[in-house]
């Protein structure tokens, strides 16, 4: 080949390789930036006085003295608002029936918007659901609720050929000539006093349990569940996998049975995870009855089965990569095969084995399908280590799906969902980092 052509080819190759790596990096950025940005929003945000009231009531945290002052300030403004409502109700009572019925639905909408913004109104019965006990805890959401209070969305169906259009009209226009008109500018101008937004660092998002299906509180049960499931899976899969790999590499003779086992292992690695989930349900729960119904144990076993082929294969590769001379040296000194495996081969293969293990651990932490039928619930009581044999658990992967698609108020708590995604990604990345560091340290020790 001509020198020129060769150089051209080299350059083209370099460019192609560089390009594809750059594209991957870009894609990673496109995915990660919004996730990290929004996820951090679950921890760092402008919290209102309602947030602090909720924390104080539900988790008994916060500065009581300061909260009292804030509430006093807020209540002063609120009593103005509630006073206006009372005055308008009195005014309504004095109206003739037709006009009153005209105002009633509009007034109820205003009441609803105020409840969403500030929490229950003075004459309301004490609500049972936590989500109704408090007003907006987050300032970004509060601004939306304020908008809902000030403007009404009206749909225009006049043109049958087109989709209906919506436009917004000011609510105060609807109450023109009544005492309620003053309410809207008052709330708008005093919203800071009413809600007292402050920048908040809410670490509790990681360490608190959730209240009322993730309306308030954090995602600790999910994080804990994910860790339980993943570590539980490793507890079964890692020793079994390493033992199987030792068998394959050191004991198995090349024969029909061995190649059958090997191909079974490869096939298992390619089975879709949802199939593992179904298998876990029928085998571990229905047949073996390791637990009454879904449980951490059943989920861990299912995940263990799923990651077992990967662990076996990576351990096998790591063991095969150990120089044969180590084995010869050890056997030559009069060591038994078993002793050689334990003292020479496995330590030398450890970096590779651990890397495979931790990558599998990350995979177990992130998988959804295998735990749907075997371990995951969307809401449940917090569980401790003692409950893993009998209780199902929340888990990040499953709850992310649940919040995104099945939760009754998915749009309300988007930030929780992003926070969970961030937590999951952080856990997986942390695990992978641990693997890299561990590997580097052990390799360094081995190399001297």
């Amino acid at each position: 080949m001509q020198l020129g052509t060769r150089k051209l080819l080299d350059r083209a190759f370099t460019a192609l390789g560089f390009g594809s790596i750059a594209m991957m990096g870009l894609m990673l950025l496109v995915v990660l930036v919004p996730i990290v940005g929004n996820g951090i929003g679950a921890i760092v945000f402008r919290g209102t006085v309602e947030h602090r009231r909720m924390l104080y009531n539900e988790f008994h945290r916060g500065d009581a003295g300061r909260l009292k002052l804030e509430l006093a300030e807020s209540d002063a403004a609120r009593s103005e608002v509630y006073g206006m409502l009372d005055r308008f109700e009195a005014e309504m009572a004095g109206m003739d029936a037709v006009r009153r019925e005209e105002y009633r639905p509009k007034y109820e909408q205003v009441q609803g918007a105020l409840r969403a913004l500030l929490g229950p109104l003075p004459h309301d019965e004490a609500p049972a659901l936590a989500r109704l006990k408090y007003g907006q805890t987050r300032w970004d959401k509060a601004e939306e609720r304020l908008h809902d209070l000030l403007f009404e969305k009206v749909w225009d169906y006049s043109n049958p050929d087109e989709m209906a259009k919506s436009y917004e009209v000011s609510r105060s226009a609807a109450f023109k000539g009544t005492s309620l008109v003053k309410l809207f500018p008052y709330v708008e101008n005093n919203i800071d006093r009413l809600l007292q937004p402050r920048w908040t660092l809410y670490w509790g998002f990681i360490t608190d349990s959730s209240i009322d299906a993730h309306f308030f509180g954090g995602v600790w049960p999910e994080i804990q569940g994910t860790l339980f499931l993943a570590l539980g899976a490793m507890l079964f899969a890692f020793p079994l996998g390493v033992i199987a790999a030792v068998y394959f590499t050191e004991y198995a003779r090349d024969g029909f049975l061995t190649s059958l086992l090997r191909s079974a292992n490869s096939t298992l690695a390619g089975v879709p995870s949802i199939v593992f989930g179904l298998f876990g349900l029928t085998f571990f729960i229905n047949t073996l009855k390791v637990s009454e119904s879904k449980s951490v144990l059943a989920g861990s076993l299912t995940l263990a089965l799923m990651i077992l082929p990967t662990i076996i294969r990576s351990a096998e590769e790591a063991i095969l990569a150990v120089p044969k001379t180590y084995k010869e040296a050890s056997l030559g000194l009069g060591a038994t095969k078993w002793h050689t495996i334990i003292t020479v081969i496995l330590p030398a293969a450890l970096p590779g084995i651990l890397t495979g293990g931790v990558i599998s651990l990350g995979r177990a932490a992130g998988e959804t399908a295998p735990i749907i039928f075997t371990a995951a619930v969307s809401v449940g009581s917090d569980i401790g280590l003692a409950d893993v044999f009998s209780s199902p658990t929340q888990a990040l992967s499953w709850n992310i799906y649940n919040l995104a698609s099945e939760h009754e108020a998915a749009a309300e708590i988007r930030h929780v969902q992003y926070g969970m995604v961030l937590a999951l990604i952080s856990i997986v990345m942390l695990l992978n980092m641990t693997a890299i560091i561990l590997r580097a340290r052990i390799s360094k020790k081995l190399k001297g």
Partner: protein, 281 residues
């Protein structure tokens, strides 16, 4: 295991004495066959790599094994401590006796055998552990746990391998950080630490520079008389320098086995002569 009467009063004792030049017959225990092969063949599957070899290896002497590449030197050497067992398709016929015990006998414990027959390989192969742990590996394996005893063994072995002065202040450093020559001497020390009776050396200097090679050769000279040493080498000078008797292999056959002085000065076989004079290799 006590030697069986046949082994000690072997009928071809006179032939064995003949392997040794007169000035080297003083070593104590010399003349007793330590390893003796009879019609010993080694197969890789169907392929006969070593063909019907019969030979007696005298105890406490250095025996060199020479021959062109692929003639079965390593195969023969590795069969003596059954390292070939690692290969699933390798089997042997005929008999190979060590100290009157059948190496390939049904009840022979190959692990015990390897403790008595140590091996140093072509490429230095220290474990990725500290120098101390490398040497202590064998003794620990055989049940020595006491730190003082281990210290003593490590020092003694390193001194025997002429390595003590170079590494005594960094015993806890990883062995892979040493030079190739040092690593090879470490492997000697590691093998010596289990106090074997026989040392099998498969081209122990082929991966080393002349200076390191000279050190290893000195070491072999030091060990001569205390151990039965069998060394495979491609280096004629080395064989003639350090060995008492020499075996010449060609295409799996033992062509000639004689005292080194005789084999290099007055070979009986034309093929041997051609080989040592470098007419083929």
């Amino acid at each position: 295991m006590t030697p069986s009467p046949e082994a000690t009063s072997s009928p071809n004792r006179s032939a064995r004495e003949f392997y040794l030049p007169p000035e080297r017959r003083k070593v104590e225990g010399g003349g007793v066959p330590h390893v003796s092969a009879k019609n010993f063949s080694i197969y890789y599957g169907e392929f006969e790599a070593v063909k019907k070899v019969s030979a007696d290896i005298p105890a406490k002497y250095v025996t060199a094994i020479i021959g062109p590449s692929g003639c079965g030197k390593s195969t023969f050497l590795r069969s003596i401590n059954r390292m070939n067992d690692l290969l699933p398709n390798c089997h042997t016929t005929g008999s190979l006796m060590f100290d009157g015990q059948d190496v390939y006998g049904k009840f022979t414990d190959e692990v015990l055998l390897r403790k008595k027959i140590g091996m140093v390989f072509q490429k230095p192969n220290p474990f990725p552990k500290s120098i101390f742990d490398n040497i202590a590996y064998g003794p620990r394996l055989h049940g020595i746990r006491d730190k003082k005893t281990l210290d003593g063994i490590v020092e003694k072995s390193l001194r025997k391998a002429a390595l003590w002065d170079e590494v005594c202040d960094r015993l806890d450093k990883n062995a892979l950080g040493m030079s190739g020559g040092q690593q090879q001497r470490l492997c000697f020390a590691r093998t010596l630490a289990v106090e074997p009776e026989i040392l099998l050396l498969d081209e122990p200097t082929s991966a080393l520079d002349p200076k390191a090679t000279a050190k290893i050769e000195d070491l072999i000279q030091e060990l001569r008389g205390s151990y039965t040493i069998m060394i495979v080498t491609h280096n004629m000078q080395q064989a003639s320098r350090i060995s008492d008797s020499t075996m010449f292999f060609y295409e799996g056959r033992l062509v000639e086995h004689a005292s080194t002085a005789q084999l290099f000065t007055n070979p009986k076989d034309q093929m041997t002569e051609d080989y040592i004079t470098g007419r083929f290799s």
